[in-house]
């Protein structure tokens, strides 16, 4: 804890990350109080003010049915961050574990696990999502499930290749010689050494996961209007570039801020997780 605080305080970039993320989370949590038009998160249309460029009181302009983009972005953070967090919270542990196990244990285990991963990876995500739709209710939860299903194998491959290299290191031998269990070697010895790559990928994936929501909602899975989500806002707005640029640019910047914050934080996290106490 002390170490974490020390690392955060010493590196101004990490601190920036903390501040950005705090702002984003704060904005999402207290959107009801901050948003100038809280009702614009829902079923509101205002054709007197639609498709307006940024101007008072619409800081970020209005969308095609006249809702305040700034307010919607604040609310969108809620669902987008939730989506990102949930997907990563499931996909990363699953993918990482499989990759570690396959890479470390080798033999038949590796063979079977990696071929299963291959199958998942080689089916295009859209097909996977569509088939989910055939089988499941089109709710947000199932949408997250679908994204998770297409996400974990990336971590598996990443960690698998790292593990193959790490297991040749002396410290793995040392642990084996001591008689440490496979679980220990995999999770306590090798995993910490894969953390930099995993964390880096995770901080980037946050952006991707937020964006994937747009393709999910294109398929009718996931977030449905009028609930705002950043991915759909960016994606839908692109049709109206360059004229109604604010429709794309502000949600895009909102994602950038979140991803940027997490990335800075990720770098710090790497240092904090650096040494296992």
């Amino acid at each position: 804890m002390k170490r974490a605080a020390y690392i955060l305080v010493r590196n101004p970039l990490s601190l920036t990350g903390v501040i950005l993320i705090t702002l984003v989370v704060f904005g999402a949590l207290f959107a009801d109080f901050i948003a100038p038009f809280p009702e614009h998160r829902g079923a509101v249309v205002d054709f007197a003010n639609f498709n307006k460029p940024p101007e008072w009181p619409y800081l970020f302009g209005t969308d095609l049915v006249g809702r305040d983009l700034f307010s919607r972005i604040l609310y969108a953070y809620r669902i987008s961050l939730l989506l990102g967090a949930v997907v990563l919270a499931i996909a990363v542990p699953v993918g990482v574990t499989i990759g570690l196990v396959a890479g470390y244990i080798g033999g038949w285990t590796e063979y079977v696990l990696m071929r299963i991963t291959d199958v998942f990876l080689s089916i295009p995500p859209l097909v996977l999502a569509m088939s989910m739709m055939g089988l499941l209710e089109p709710t947000l939860t199932n949408g997250m499930l679908a994204v998770t299903a297409m996400w974990w194998p990336w971590y598996t491959r990443l960690v698998y290749n790292l593990t193959r290299s790490e297991k040749e290191e002396g410290y793995v031998l040392a642990a084996e010689v001591i008689g440490a269990s496979r679980t220990h070697i995999i999770f306590r010895e090798i995993l910490p050494n894969c953390v930099p790559s995993i964390v880096t990928k995770m901080t980037l994936d946050l952006g991707f996961v937020i964006l994937i929501a747009s393709s999910l909602s294109f398929l009718g899975l996931g977030v449905q209007p009028p609930t705002p989500d950043l991915g759909s806002m960016v994606a839908d707005g692109a049709k109206y570039l360059p004229d109604s640029w604010w429709l794309t640019v502000f949600p895009g910047l909102a994602i950038l801020v979140a991803v940027f914050g997490f990335n800075l934080l990720g770098d710090a996290l790497r240092d904090i997780l650096g040494v296992d106490q």
């Binding site: 002396g170 410290y171 040392a174 001591i178 008689g179 306590r188």
Partner: protein, 270 residues
């Protein structure tokens, strides 16, 4: 009677592209319970390879290794793991750079359930102190240790499991003499107290002289000579052994004299 550990016709061949390297060539010897067997030999003579095979890090290409009369399987069981420990030659890579010294030291305690849980941290501290390091070092990362300090951590870790046999691959060559003395003493004490057995790989014949019961001399993957320390130093049979002893750097005049004597023998024999 077979010893605690016996190697029978053990060979190890590495393939390097098209080429084959016979790192260990048809070696047989026993390690008796409670003894300290030193393995000396030129660099690249296969000492570390033997150590790695004893530990089951890789299997011998030929031959068998038996533990208390049972041939050791390729996949070692936990009891074998506990019974045989290793101090690796390369102290940097044998410590996980992402785990603190304390975490690395605690591992054998946890794995083999040594001591009760709440006192393990203290135990780790004591282990560090035993090898001459302050207990606070348990919070450090290996990167912040000097070469010798790392080596001492590795030794402490091998001792932590309270095993029957410890294979020490150049355990003290990175240590200064004071610490070396201390570690050697510790090793000797533990041997007495717990009846440990050591396979001690080193170049330092002065050390060998002072702690080993028997010495095995290797050259080019072959076992050249195996005898009691006394015998080897008093009357080395093999020319290579004599050369080894003659080359030892020494600090006292008495030692210079001994060296001279052996060198003369060698010249006479040649």
């Amino acid at each position: 009677m077979t010893g605690l550990l016996s190697l029978r016709n053990v060979s190890k061949v590495f393939t390097l592209g098209q080429r084959e390297i016979r790192a260990v060539d048809d070696v047989s010897f026993d390690v008796e319970e409670g003894e300290c067997l030193a393995i000396v030999g030129e660099s690249g003579s296969g000492k570390s390879t033997i150590a790695n095979m004893i530990l089951g890090i890789y299997p011998p290409s030929m031959g068998t290794i038996a533990w208390r009369g049972d041939v050791l399987p390729a996949r070692r069981e936990l009891r074998h793991r506990r019974a045989i420990q290793l101090v690796q030659q390369n102290p940097l890579s044998s410590l996980n750079p992402r785990r603190s010294v304390g975490a690395s030291l605690r591992l054998p305690l946890d794995v083999h359930g040594i001591g009760d849980r709440s006192h393990r941290a203290d135990r780790v501290g004591r282990l560090l102190e035993e090898v001459g390091l302050p207990a606070e070092f348990m919070n450090r990362s290996p990167a912040a240790l000097s070469g010798g300090q790392r080596q001492r951590v590795a030794i402490a870790r091998a001792l932590a499991s309270e095993s029957d046999l410890v294979v020490l691959d150049e355990p003290t060559s990175a240590l200064d003499v004071l610490v070396q003395a201390r570690v050697l003493k510790l090793l000797a004490e533990l041997r007495d107290k717990r009846g440990l057995t050591y396979v001690f790989i080193t170049h330092d014949l002065s050390v060998v002289r002072n702690i080993a019961d028997r010495v095995a001399v290797f050259e080019k993957g072959c076992l050249r000579e195996l005898g009691t320390t006394e015998a080897i130093f008093a009357n080395p049979q093999h020319a290579y052994t004599r050369r080894l002893i003659a080359a030892v750097p020494v600090v006292t005049d008495a030692e210079v004299a001994l060296r001279k004597r052996l060198m003369e023998n060698d010249n006479a024999a040649a």
